[in-house]
Amino acid sequence: MIPAHAPIQRPRDAKLLAVDAQGRIVEMPRARFVDLLEPSDLVIANDAATLPASLQGVHVRTGREIEVRLAGRGSLDAADIRRFSAVVFGAGDFRTRTEDRPLPPPLRVGDGFELGPLSATVEEVLGHPRFVSVRFAGSVRAFWAGLARHGRPIQYAHVPAPLALWDVWTPIAAAAAAFEPPSASFVLDWAAIHAMHRRGIAFATLTLAAGISSTGDPELDARFPLGEAYRIPHATAAAIRAAQARGGRIVGVGTTVVRALEHAATRACPQRSRGDGLVRAGEALADQRIGSATPLRIVDAILSGTHEPDTSHYSLLQAFVEDEALARAGRTLEAHGYRTHEFGDSVFVQKSAARAEVVADAA
């Protein structure tokens, strides 16, 4: 597919390819995605606002220039905001493809980074020369002020112009948590939210701290996606129970929503030793991989970007439909010039009738 290189969240000509429960393919302008929904449906989106998680600076011990990309956090706890896992590159920026970026100087525990107004210390090297956990010095307030002033959105060479925060915050961005934008939510402008409301389609949100998608280093990329902290509000858990009770579909906007909801459904609850298939409000770390063998217990359909095979996003789509249908959709995406990556076109994939039966039998 063609990489989308312009940072436009809702291009007028954005396209949508939909795969229904029988594997049939329909194409339409993406702005019409609300037409695919039923009044009994519940649409759930990730409301994470994207951090300016790319920090240019200096590795103090060697004096060499580095770029630090914050990559993950163990929780969404506001008081714990100064500890991150991070991917470190040598000198340069997003204009160089990540595959071609030099390594940073050898990183050791205790090394200092001076990142504009921020100072951080390496707490651990995480089994790879680029991958560390860091802790920022100073108060929580000073961290936010420094990040807001000095940080830039993480970006990749396929978008040539420097991104600003407004390019990567979705219209529903609420919780300062994501390391890269939960870009499936770019489609959700207020007109779409109004249209859903008018038609009686329920809408709810959760927050998942979407992590880095790629580092250009095959060994490191093989470890992705990292565990991602998420929070499900009480109102959202209640909306899911209500939708299930009326027989409505749960439509996830983005792979992050699927990851959070399916993780929540398999979490042990206090009364039982393993998950009971119910989504409860609360916080946890989604650390599972979702693929063709994963039964989906909560989500019935996904609205997502277009994804190339060999990505974790594509594997997640394999949980919804048989490989044959996905391959057919992929050929149509190629043939009809769909664009990929965060500012690209979209797919809507409903769980196949066969997979819906398997899950129903297991329940």
Partner: protein
């Protein structure tokens, strides 16, 4: 101590997350104090670092943010710090205001740049900041916490006072935009209010009307208490307020 018992009777706002622009003087500072006293979690924004640090140092627990709402590039850094420090947002008070030309001038004598600054501070800035924080406000409404945007208006938004052209026109635009926001956001249960606090004894008023008798003007503390009562009412249920 009648004053203290009044405060005790005032509606509490424990744990309500509030951001106020123009929080280092006049009505904004009085709102910071009033909201803190009622138990709110407060972040304020102002342009001058020394003033921000002084107000933050004098009010433990408050989050001081340096930024200029008239500058496009400052808006998202401000919004990020607000939601980062407060963990979300229930109430946004767009209070920071520009008079336009000072001393006040007839429209025929108003430099275009002074009108542009009034519009940037009083209309475009509040629009940008509201838009950047709309997701947070809507999330708060969905969670049942309530969500309110309070735009500080003026009687100059309604009445045609000679000499108040840049200010009055910009506040009129803000007032009307507030009404439209409020209609459009009704479904999301985000309330947008535009309220005139009255003529107050503040630095802004002193610049506009240097020879005004402070004794005839409202104390900003009184206006802050009144506005906070309205906020508390709006958070707890529907109110009809567009003065």
């Amino acid at each position: 101590m009648a004053h203290h018992s009044e405060i005790d009777l005032a509606a509490r706002l424990d744990g309500v997350r509030v951001a106020i622009t123009g929080g280092t003087s006049g009505l904004g500072l009085a709102l910071v104090r009033e909201l803190l006293q009622r138990g709110a979690h407060v972040a304020f924004v102002a342009r001058t670092p020394a003033h921000v640090h002084a107000v933050a140092a004098a009010h433990p627990g408050v989050h001081g943010i340096v930024g200029d709402v008239a500058r496009k590039d400052d808006i998202h850094p401000i919004a990020l710090q607000i939601i980062g420090n407060l963990g979300g947002l229930d109430v946004l008070v767009n209070n920071a205001s520009s008079l336009g030309p000072t001393p006040l001038a007839l429209l025929g004598d108003t430099e275009c740049e002074d009108l542009e600054l009034a519009l940037a501070t009083n209309v475009v800035g509040p629009f940008r900041l509201t838009k950047a924080l709309l997701g947070s406000l809507a999330a708060s409404a969905r969670a049942g916490r309530g969500a309110v945007v309070l735009n500080v208006s003026s009687d100059a938004a309604i009445n045609a006072y000679p000499g108040w052209g840049a200010y009055g026109a910009s506040k009129a635009a803000l007032h009307h935009m507030s009404r439209i926001w409020n209609e459009e956001l009704a479904a999301a249960q985000v309330r947008v209010l535009s309220l005139d606090p009255g003529d107050m004894d503040t630095p802004l008023h002193a610049v506009a009307v240097p020879d005004a008798d402070p004794g005839t003007l409202k104390r900003p503390e009184v206006a802050a208490r009144e506005l906070t009562d309205v906020l508390a009412a709006a958070l707890s249920g529907p109110v009809e307020l567009h003065t």
